[in-house]
């Protein structure tokens, strides 16, 4: 903690005038360190030291600047009691001054506060995901083997202290009213130690239980223990019948040896059931031995690996990726965009705060001049300015912190859900991050203080109070004018930078919401079911079972149609198909989705058959293999030709080797519209295969009922249970809900970006308006003279308008660069939109319009003045 304070203090030392800094900054830093060290671990003493250091900065900074800029004044200041006596009255004066302009004060506080809150929240999220180590023992030495080439744990003992392997699986639990499907894992001996898996009762597996032919034992999750056993403390030692569909063993009786504690984050709700893995120990994750560098270890591992399975490309280089990096890899683009966005918002907020402070300070020159003439010390005025700036930043910081704490507290669950990846260490650890907050606060405080001091510099340049001169007011220009212009142009630039990606994101969200799915999801209820392969070894058996389920559900009153097959909008693993080479063989291979379903499926999801025939009861393994193709795939494989009657075959997963020539040719018997296989599916390439020829152990029953029909889950369960009491139903629910879930990320990003872009736009307009209206007010006299010598109101107003538009134009030029950079970053997260001229034109036009309005209103006001009255008033 001392380190942070010392860092802040050292940063602040840079703010002293150069000569003073060169002479004393090192000494001051050393003394500050001593002061903090002296406090030791005592929090109260430390707090006092910190207060002492920073109060001192506050007092001595303006004095040293005063001396540096105006030695005469400083000498007088020396002879005045100035250490602490006036502080309170100055603070009171600052508070009075701010309370006289509550709208200004509130505006600045709200601006900065929102900026600080947004920045703190996002930076905290980034820190929680990327900086905080994963909650495993020795997280720095954990690496994932990527791709996971086959290598046995015994072969890499010199590289890894621990090497874990596991198999994800779905278990059907019996021994209850209804079979239940749970996710589970087969885990290798090192798994528990490597991932820090602990039990809250019972024990972990013993070495003997990992040995081939060992006893069937299981660990269950706390959730399953509460759900299925009602938290019974006698659960240890009980037996549990469970099977997995793909292991040849029949139903096994597992002995429960322990209940996994909830702190075992590696499992976090994804694994209710653990059992020892006794074969196939390919290393997925290892803990590197101390001092073993990942690069050479990866090479060594590659050399010892066995032959690669077909799905790992031969030329893929094996890497040992830090587990943390692998965990957050998919998140990095989103986090990057989020961070860039809030940084821009904070930048705009600070910029506009600066503009407001400058405008206000310039407007108060007269006040200061009068006070100087009445004998006020410049130091007092400076201190009051500093106090005002500090006060505004301080309140804004409090507001920002409050908003950040509330915001994170209220939305961290939703945030985690949107990001789709669990926060390392649990969602409760997603709190305001001290480092993030410190950085944000320093930026905001510096804005308030530095720009609060700008008018002081102006004040010091005028050697003696020139009341008469100053009172006349001046034309805009000079240094403060240039700074204001730069801030306005910068604000416009940042607005464009944010608006373009935001417009893209909104467009993308609209695209996603209006996705033409290729099917009609309303009023469809679905339920998955999993068969035991041992009971249904052949395709016909499985297809027959599924058809019997369909028949029973079809008989339920209110049900209009029933189909067996996948959920249409599921991103299944793509397969590669190739057409039968014709006379002009091109060796074409196309990645497509494969849908396996029965005859009723197309009707249930309201997808019409465009050509040929649908699936028939005669499409059995004995008959010729048949397939439907999507219109899009047909056009790709046989351009300009009728796909019906052609042949194709599924070769394998993309990038795989192996010989596909033994795979059977399939006859295309029909064409259907392309179904969107997911939000990001733009190709709609798909083939459909009949359940009768390709049924797996898992499928869904899709039920379309009359509108208003309640959930048919009970009927489905009953039908399935009567046919086979070991078949569990799972993943049940309305199709529309599943589709909304798929669309949510796009909507989230769009809402986020659009919200920030609106804030940015509002801030930019506010800055533009403030500066221009201030300029108009300052130039009242000039306008009056011009009009007195014959300029018309319209001419004057136009002059102001042009000035405003020139600033907007300058900002737009710069903003294009930023918009391209940020736009590129978000483009990958978006669907069906591109970063092109139209979106730039649209955003630029919006900014020009708004900018013109912001310039026009003050311009009109300036030109309506009665010149004679103004000149007389002067």
């Amino acid at each position: 903690m001392n380190g942070v304070w010392l860092f802040l203090y050292r940063s602040a030392l840079r703010l002293y005038p150069r000569r003073f800094r060169e002479a004393y900054a090192d000494l001051m830093r050393d003394d500050a360190r001593d002061l903090l060290d002296e406090a030791g671990g005592d929090r109260r003493t430390r707090a006092r030291s910190v207060r002492r250091l920073f109060l001192d900065l506050f007092r001595s900074l303006p004095r040293e600047w005063l001396r540096a800029l105006s030695p005469g004044a400083a000498r007088r200041a020396d002879t005045r009691p100035a250490v602490a006596s006036g502080l309170r009255s100055d603070a009171a004066a600052a508070a009075r001054s701010l309370s006289r302009h509550p709208r200004f004060a509130l505006g600045v506080v709200a601006l900065l506060g929102v900026g600080i809150a947004a920045c703190t929240i996002v930076a905290s999220v980034v820190s929680a995901y990327t900086l905080r180590p994963l909650p495993y023992p020795e997280p720095d030495r954990l690496v994932a083997v990527s791709p996971a080439v086959p290598v046995e744990t015994g072969d890499v003992e010199d590289l890894f202290e621990l090497a874990a392997s596991w198999d994800l699986d779905v278990f059907t639990l019996l021994d209850a009213d209804a079979p239940e499907l749970v996710y589970g894992r087969w885990i290798s001996p090192d798994y528990a130690e490597l991932f820090g898996v602990r039990v809250e009762s019972g024990r972990l597996f013993t070495g003997e239980e990992y040995a081939p032919g060992g006893p069937a034992v299981a660990l269950i999750s706390r959730g399953l223990w509460l759900r299925r056993y009602g938290g019974d403390p006698e659960v240890i030692g009980q037996r549990l019948s469970a099977f997995t569909s793909d292991r040849p063993d029949d139903a096994e009786t597992f002995t429960i040896v322990g209940v996994v504690s909830e702190e075992s984050w590696a499992l976090r709700g994804y694994a209710d059931f653990l059992t020892p893995l006794r074969a196939d120990r390919t290393v997925y994750v290892g803990r590197l031995r101390e001092g073993v560098p990942p690069g050479p270890a990866a090479r060594a591992l590659e050399d010892r690996a066995g032959p690669r399975p077909a799905w790992i490309p031969e030329d893929a280089e094996v890497e040992l990726v830090s587990l943390q990096e692998q965990y957050t890899a998919s998140l990095r683009p989103v986090l990057g965009v989020g961070l860039a966005t809030v940084a821009l918002v904070l930048l705009i907020a600070c910029g506009n705060t600066a503009a407001l402070l400058l405008v206000r300070a310039a407007g108060r020159e007269r006040e200061f001049t009068v006070r100087r003439a009445l004998g006020a010390a410049r130091g007092r005025i400076g201190r009051q300015l500093l106090l005002e700036g500090g006060f505004l930043s301080g309140v804004a910081a409090l507001l920002g912190l409050g908003l950040a704490v509330l915001g994170l507290g209220a939305f961290r669950g939703a945030l985690e859900a949107q990001l789709g990846i669990a926060v390392p260490g649990g969602v409760e650890s997603l709190t305001v991050d001290g480092r993030a907050l410190a950085v944000t606060l320093v930026i905001a405080a510096a804005t308030g203080i530095v720009f609060g001091l700008v008018p002081l510099a102006g004040l010091l340049r005028t050697s003696e109070p020139g009341l008469r001169e100053e009172a006349r007011g001046s034309t805009i220009g000079g240094r403060s004018g240039r700074i204001q212009s730069a801030i306005v142009a910068g604000g416009v630039a940042l607005s464009l930078t944010l608006m373009v990606p935001a417009a893209l994101a909104v467009g993308s969200a609209r695209n996603v919401a209006n996705l033409e799915l290729g099917f009609e999801p309303t009023d469809i209820y679905r339920s998955g079911m999993l068969l035991r392969r041992a009971s249904y070894p052949e395709v016909e058996d499985r297809a027959a079972f599924f058809e019997r389920v369909a028949e029973r559900v079809r008989a339920v009153p209110g049900v209009t149609s029933v189909g067996m097959g996948p959920v249409p909008m599921d991103d299944g693993a793509p397969r590669v198909v190739e057409p039968e080479p014709g006379p002009d063989a091109r060796g074409l291979r196309v990645e497509t989705r494969v849908y396996v379903h029965d005859a009723g499926w197309l009707e249930t999801i309201s997808t019409p058959l465009l050509a040929g025939r649908g699936f028939l009861p005669g499409d059995t393994p004995a008959a010729e293999g048949v397939a439907l193709v999507s219109r899009e795939l047909g056009a790709r494989l046989w351009p300009g030709d009728d796909p019906v009657g052609k042949r194709l075959r599924v070769t394998d997963m993309p990038g795989a080797g192996g010989d596909p020539s033994d795979r059977p040719w399939l006859r295309v018997v029909g064409v259907v519209p392309g179904i969107r296989g997911g939000v990001s599916d733009s190709t709609r390439f798909a083939i459909h295969r009949p359940l009768g020829q390709a049924a797996g152990v898992w499928t869904n029953v899709l039920v379309r009922g009359q509108p208003g029909l309640g959930s048919p889950l009970e009927e489905i369960r009953e039908a399935v249970g009567e046919l086979d009491p070991t078949v569990a139903t799972a993943e049940t629910g309305w199709l529309t809900t599943a589709i909304d879930d798929a669309r949510r990320p796009a909507r989230f990003l769009a809402t986020l970006l659009a919200g920030f872009a609106l804030v940015a736009l509002a801030l930019a307009v506010l800055g533009l308006y403030a500066v221009l209206s201030f300029a108009a007010a300052r130039r009242t006299r000039e306008v009056a003279i011009r009009m007195a010598i014959g300029a018309r109101g319209g001419q004057v107003a136009r002059a102001f308008l042009y000035r405003g538009l020139a600033l907007v134009a300058a900002g737009l030029l710069v903003g294009v660069v930023g918009a391209v950079l940020l736009g590129r970053g978000v483009e990958t997260q978006l669907h069906g939109v591109e970063l092109g001229v139209p979106v730039f034109a649209l955003c630029a036009a919006a900014l020009v319009l708004v900018g013109a309005a912001a310039a026009w209103i003050p311009a009109r006001r300036a030109s309506r003045h009665d010149p004679m009255r103004i000149l007389r008033a002067e």
């Binding site: 004393y24 003394d31 040293e64």
Partner: protein, 112 residues
């Protein structure tokens, strides 16, 4: 040579720093500690070095070579003859002021 009279009255910070140095040379941190111990005023480094800087410019204090065994390079300061005179004048001014106040019946909380 600035007119010494122009420097009256001294700011409390400058006064305390000067007073702390009256007994012998000290470095900045020691000045800070001494002022705190003797008068309870918690000065920060900025105030201490600001005051030392000013006093140095006036010629009231000067830097001395520090041959202490401290590992760190520290800079010590010593009060000069002008400094002593200035402090003397300031104390005199205070005494006169105090006398004036006492003559009006203010005893600063001491028994009347």
């Amino acid at each position: 040579m600035p007119d010494p009279a122009a420097h009256q009255p001294l700011t409390p910070a400058v006064f305390h720093v000067l007073l702390a140095l009256a007994d012998g040379p000290l470095h900045g941190y020691a000045v800070m500690q001494r002022v705190e111990k003797e008068s309870g005023i918690e000065m920060g480094p900025g105030t201490v070095y600001g005051s030392l800087n000013r006093l140095g410019e006036l010629g009231w204090i000067e830097e001395v070579d520090d041959d202490s065994e401290d590992r760190r390079r520290r800079r010590s300061f010593r009060i000069t003859r002008e400094g002593r005179a200035g402090l003397e004048r300031e104390v005199g001014r205070m005494v006169r002021l105090t006398g004036l106040a006492r003559s009006r019946g203010f005893a600063g909380g001491e028994a009347r």
